[in-house]
């Protein structure tokens, strides 16, 4: 056969060569799929996009009452509501992006069996949708900080970077679980369940200052815990656990690697398995 550059070779197990180039060529599709999900989500709703704000706000109120008032936990020198919201901001991003992307291949099954494109676009687009919600919820944070009269420091400029980190973690987990869900529908039940428990296992309603030192190594195996610490450091200046941040970084990178490797190994079978 000719060794022309324009020639695409299809063989069992050699899709890898052109993959990343293909992914780049299909970048517009990534945006289109995210755009579709955002458009569709609030069709036929009365208050539309306000839902993005109402969910974290209501959750914040409940957690503030339960942990701040009833359990009477300490929030240091900031209002309890702010402490909770700085945790909810990354948590909602993480849990929405993770649960949506884990399901994304199955819900987009009709696309996978009819058209070719690098499949990674599907879970990635749902993470992008989560990122848009995240950006919208930042406006609530700004309002809350004005309300409580909290002056931000320069560190607040790190929020986009931290948001990117949450996105990478969600993408890593989403790649792994979306590929697993194609073959084992068990994960459709496992992921939401883990996320439901996760809000309590993560420092959303309370501060990590309450975690006893000897429990920290175990506690910070939850990758979102270190990230929430980093958010609180950037927004309200609470000193984070360095251990937690390093642990979270390592776990994020591990998930990305494992997710990528597993996703790529399973990808060629998606259309047959879906």
């Amino acid at each position: 056969m000719t060794s022309d550059k324009n020639v695409l070779v299809i063989e069992n197990g050699v899709s890898a060569k052109a993959y990343w180039g293909d992914l780049w060529r299909h970048r517009e599709l990534l945006l289109f799929l995210a755009w579709r999900d955002i458009l569709v989500r609030y069709k036929q709703t009365v208050i539309g996009v306000s839902w993005v704000l109402i969910r974290p706000l209501l959750t914040m109120m409940i957690l503030t009452v339960v942990f701040g008032r009833i359990a009477n936990l300490s929030s240091g020198d900031v209002p309890y509501a702010i402490l909770v919201f700085t945790g909810l901001l990354p948590w909602f991003y993480f849990s929405n992006a993770t649960s949506e992307s884990s399901n994304s291949l199955v819900t987009n099954g009709n696309l996978l069996s009819k058209v070719y494109f690098p499949r990674m676009i599907v879970p990635a687009s749902t993470v992008l949708v989560g990122a848009v919600d995240f950006v919208v919820s930042i406006s609530v944070l700004v309002l809350l900080m004005l309300w409580y009269g909290i002056d931000p420091s320069w560190k607040i400029l790190l929020i986009p970077l931290l948001g990117f980190w949450v996105g990478l973690l969600s993408l890593g987990i989403g790649l792994l679980f979306s590929a697993l869900t194609v073959r084992y529908r068990d994960f459709r039940h496992i992921v939401p369940f883990m996320l439901q428990l996760g809000i309590y296992a993560s420092p959303v309603g309370y501060s990590t200052a309450l975690i006893p030192a000897q429990w920290a190594p175990l506690y910070y195996l939850n990758p979102i815990a270190g990230i929430i610490d980093a958010f609180r450091w950037a927004i309200i200046g609470q000193v984070p656990s360095l251990y937690g941040i390093v642990s979270s970084l390592v776990i994020t990178v591990s998930f990305l690697l494992v997710g990528l490797i597993y996703f790529r190994s399973a990808e060629s079978r998606f259309a047959d398995d879906i």
Binding site: L8, V9, I10, N12, V40, S268, R269, D272
Partner: protein, 442 residues
Amino acid sequence: MTSRPFAIEVENLSKSYVISHNSKRKARSLRELLANPFARQDAVGAMPDEDMPKETFWALNDVSFRIGEGERVAIIGGNGAGKSTLLKILSRITEPTSGKVAIRGKVSSLLEVGTGFHPELTGRENIYLNGAILGMRRSEITAKFDQIVDFSGVEKFIDTPVKHYSSGMYVRLAFSVSAWLDPDILIVDEVLSVGDQAFQRRCAERMKELTGAGRTVLFVSHSMQAVKAMCDKAMFLERGRAVHFGSVDDAATQYVRSIEADNTESWGKAEFTPGDEGVIAHSDHQNKIRCHHARIINDEEQVTSQLPIDRPFFIELTYEVLEDLDVSAVPNFHFYDEFGGRVFITMPEGACPREKGVFTARCEIPSFQLNNGRYVVMVAISSFSLEAPLHFAFEYSLRLEVKEDTGMDVRRHGWTGALPGTSRPRLDWTYSSHNRITGFNT
């Protein structure tokens, strides 16, 4: 080199699927996964599991061919011959098990119209989305937007969600996006039969335009007419093998002959039990309903595949509901003609049994419902409220022949030639007289 450069070159291409029989699970078990999480899931698929009888089915078997640039090639063959599998491999949707394909140029494949259309989005939004899914750039879609809308004829409703469209409008819009793709190689899977007559004509014209401009085209169809009109060459696939690749007429002849050969050998098949040779099984769930057997019965309660055109007959499906169901499980029978074209699908009216037990569903096919000729039946049970509805479907499970002896059809009025078509309905005719003086019957 003076020879025409190739557009598609296929060498020893094979694709196999593993079919599991009577398995309780669809997916690989979690236990296997945990034991070996990074095992490459190659196309031959799942790891061996002793308690699950398995069979390898070769959807494509050692197929080699070469298509030159600008050639228009038809792929013909019966159901399950491997046509769709071949298209899916060439469009990169699924990987081959072995063999090699080389493709030169940009490929667009239309295995379906309107892939990715979302009912909640407007026509305008869906054009962009569908275009992007088919590989068009946004600028390209914007440039062709007016042409697409014009072609579809739905200008007035372009900002209405497509869920409010009639099915005709929906399909027209869907086809229109595809019609403005601009690839080097176009792969089409019989999407032409959409819309009303006028729209079909426009589609056919547009297809001619598309295929005229030096484009390489691969076209799958059951219609020999469409194939002859559009293609210069044809490949005839039979049970995963490329039996013939050459002139359209030769391939068509071989195709028809193979059907006839099938006919003389073992056309009739009045009884079916799962596991029969030559039957293709599909299933989404295997733990709720099990198929016992299916039969063709004439109006004298005999099991037979040879049925006179003027007598009714029955298709019977006996199945076992393994657990009480919370969804309806509807038996459905699909009739195909001998060329694989769908004749009709029939489902019962009213509620279907949901409780545990063994049931026989019987469907009466009235006399003259089917024209004389050969038909294939697929028996299936589906729960349409489930996301994956299929309990089972067995392609080619039954084969029957409707026979007409002289004198069976009084409506022939002495005509002894063929009356083509897949049915010969007994329609009501009336006369009215335009004679001023006397009525017709007086």
